[in-house]
């Protein structure tokens, strides 16, 4: 670069507007797609905010995602180092190890397979709505609806008894909280792994027709790897969709015309889901990658060993890619957003998440046409302190 490089920034997390990306990300993107960033361990690496730069890094095999190579973008992230290398945790593996595991799983997550699950997901959704209606208003939408639906679905898919959900819910909350200590993270991960390893042993003896039994049956993975991959899917599979369901509903409640449009015309659901994914971008810290050799990205040289934090939220608001990016418009063509990432690690569960949302939002809005917030906005606690953004609770009435 010939231009003077701006001073390194740190990654902002606190937001002025609950649905907009934090701090100065938008302004920084206007100044340039990539800029120097100070990491929590004093490493000076990079922050990418431009849509095409973010995609370029995520698609480039010269960048690694192995935990041991990554610098922590925020201090709390250092705790991730506590997890160093977990066998089977393929979100943190590079090819070819990553490819081997991912290949064994993609067949289970095809568009067609996921569509076969639709009737089950519709039933689970209707059951939760019945329960909510029985209990009466006000209700916490997170506890009664947004969290149980994806949790029940991923449990069924993996073959994890839902009756144990309090245990893994507690562990996964600890894992995702930026306020947990390294010790707490390590303990939660050990507990979760213990639990799943026990399950794998039982399923080896008595297989079912679930995904974990299926992985055992391939004969190509060790129990330790199966446990690692299962823990990953269990955590990734419910916290993410849960936050989209709750935060998405909150967003719609603040945009009543679009809420009404979606409620009255279910054919809008597909586009609305993509737009809410884009607009809200709940993965608000990273992903992070580290260059394994010097790489040139849009005129910036990322040297071997330097980390790049990819701001998916800023990329999804890039006016070069999306017209009026800061406007929520559930009728726009939002596909191409990077909310599920990009490149070889692009979300394995994205088709499942899409179906859960496509069924969830309209079912909720049609069951409770008078749905409204049952608390002042100031009292809705946002998840700025969690790895996945959203709301902690959403009190609603109808």
């Amino acid at each position: 670069m010939t231009n003077a490089m701006p001073e390194p920034v740190t990654l902002p997390l606190s937001r002025e507007e609950p649905f907009d990306p934090p701090g100065d990300l938008g302004r920084w993107r206007e100044e340039g797609p990539i800029r120097p960033m100070l990491y929590a361990d004093d490493h000076v690496g990079w922050l990418a905010t431009g849509y095409s730069a973010v995609r370029a890094v995520l698609a480039d095999p010269r960048f690694s995602t192995e935990t041991t190579r990554l610098h922590p973008p925020i201090s709390q992230r250092a705790r991730l180092q506590a997890l160093a290398k977990l066998p089977g945790f393929f979100i943190r593996e590079d090819p070819p190890e990553h490819t081997r595991l991912r290949r064994l799983l993609t067949g289970q997550f095809t568009v067609r397979r996921m569509r076969q699950l639709e009737p089950r997901i519709e039933k689970i959704t209707a059951d939760r709505l019945d329960a909510m209606e029985r209990e009466g208003a006000p209700a916490d939408l997170v506890r009664e609806f947004a969290l149980p639906i994806p949790s029940l679905v991923i449990c069924e898919l993996l073959g994890v008894p839902y009756g144990d959900h309090e245990r893994f819910q507690r562990d996964s909350t600890t894992l995702l909280s930026l306020e947990s200590s390294i010790e707490q993270v390590r303990e939660a991960m050990e507990d979760l792994l213990d639990y799943i390893r026990g399950l794998v042993v039982r399923k080896r003896a008595e297989p079912g027709d679930d995904l974990i039994s299926g992985l055992i049956a391939t004969g190509r993975l060790t129990d330790v790897e199966i446990a690692g991959a299962s823990v990953l899917m269990l955590i990734a599979g419910h916290e993410t969709t849960a936050n989209m369901l709750a935060l998405g509903t909150y967003t719609l409640l603040k945009n009543p015309a679009q809420l009404a449009a979606l409620r009255d015309d279910p054919s809008l659901a597909d586009a609305a889901v993509e737009e809410l994914l884009r607009y809200l971008t709940i993965v608000h810290i990273g992903p992070v990658r580290t260059a394994m050799e010097d790489v040139e990205i849009e005129g910036y040289t990322i040297r071997a060993g330097e980390s790049v934090t990819l701001s998916l939220g800023a990329a999804n608001r890039d006016p070069e890619r999306f017209d009026s990016p800061d406007t929520l418009d559930i009728t726009r063509q939002a596909t191409g957003h990077v909310s599920f990432g990009h490149g070889v690690h692009q979300c394995l569960g994205q088709q499942l998440a899409r179906i859960e949302m496509r069924i969830g939002y309209p079912a909720l809005l049609r069951r409770f046409p008078g749905l409204r917030l049952a608390t002042p906005d100031e009292e809705v606690a946002m998840r700025s302190n969690m790895a996945i953004y959203g709301v902690h609770r959403l009190p609603v009435a109808w």
Binding site: L58, A59, R102, R103, L104, L105, T106, G107, Q108, F109, T110, V111, R112, T335, G336, F340, G341, H342, G343, V344, Q346, C347, L348, Q350, Q351
Partner: protein
């Protein structure tokens, strides 16, 4: 238009199927792309171009 798909590169994300369902499918076995119409009719070309664009792994190309 001719579509080429590299199943060694494909990660089975299914974006192609979502974008152009009559042109692409995924194998039951490993979820990688199956091209149903390697030479798609003209009215599908727009959707195919979009699929190539959104494919996260760069497995698809057209000539």
């Amino acid at each position: 238009m001719r579509i080429k798909a590299d199943t060694d590169v494909c990660i089975g994300a299914g974006m192609c199927v979502l974008t152009a369902a009559d042109v692409f499918d995924q194998s039951e076995e490993d979820g990688t792309v199956v091209v149903l119409l390697p030479e798609p009719p003209a009215d599908k070309e727009g959707a195919v171009r979009r699929a190539v664009q959104v494919c996260p792994s760069g497995a698809l190309s057209i000539s």
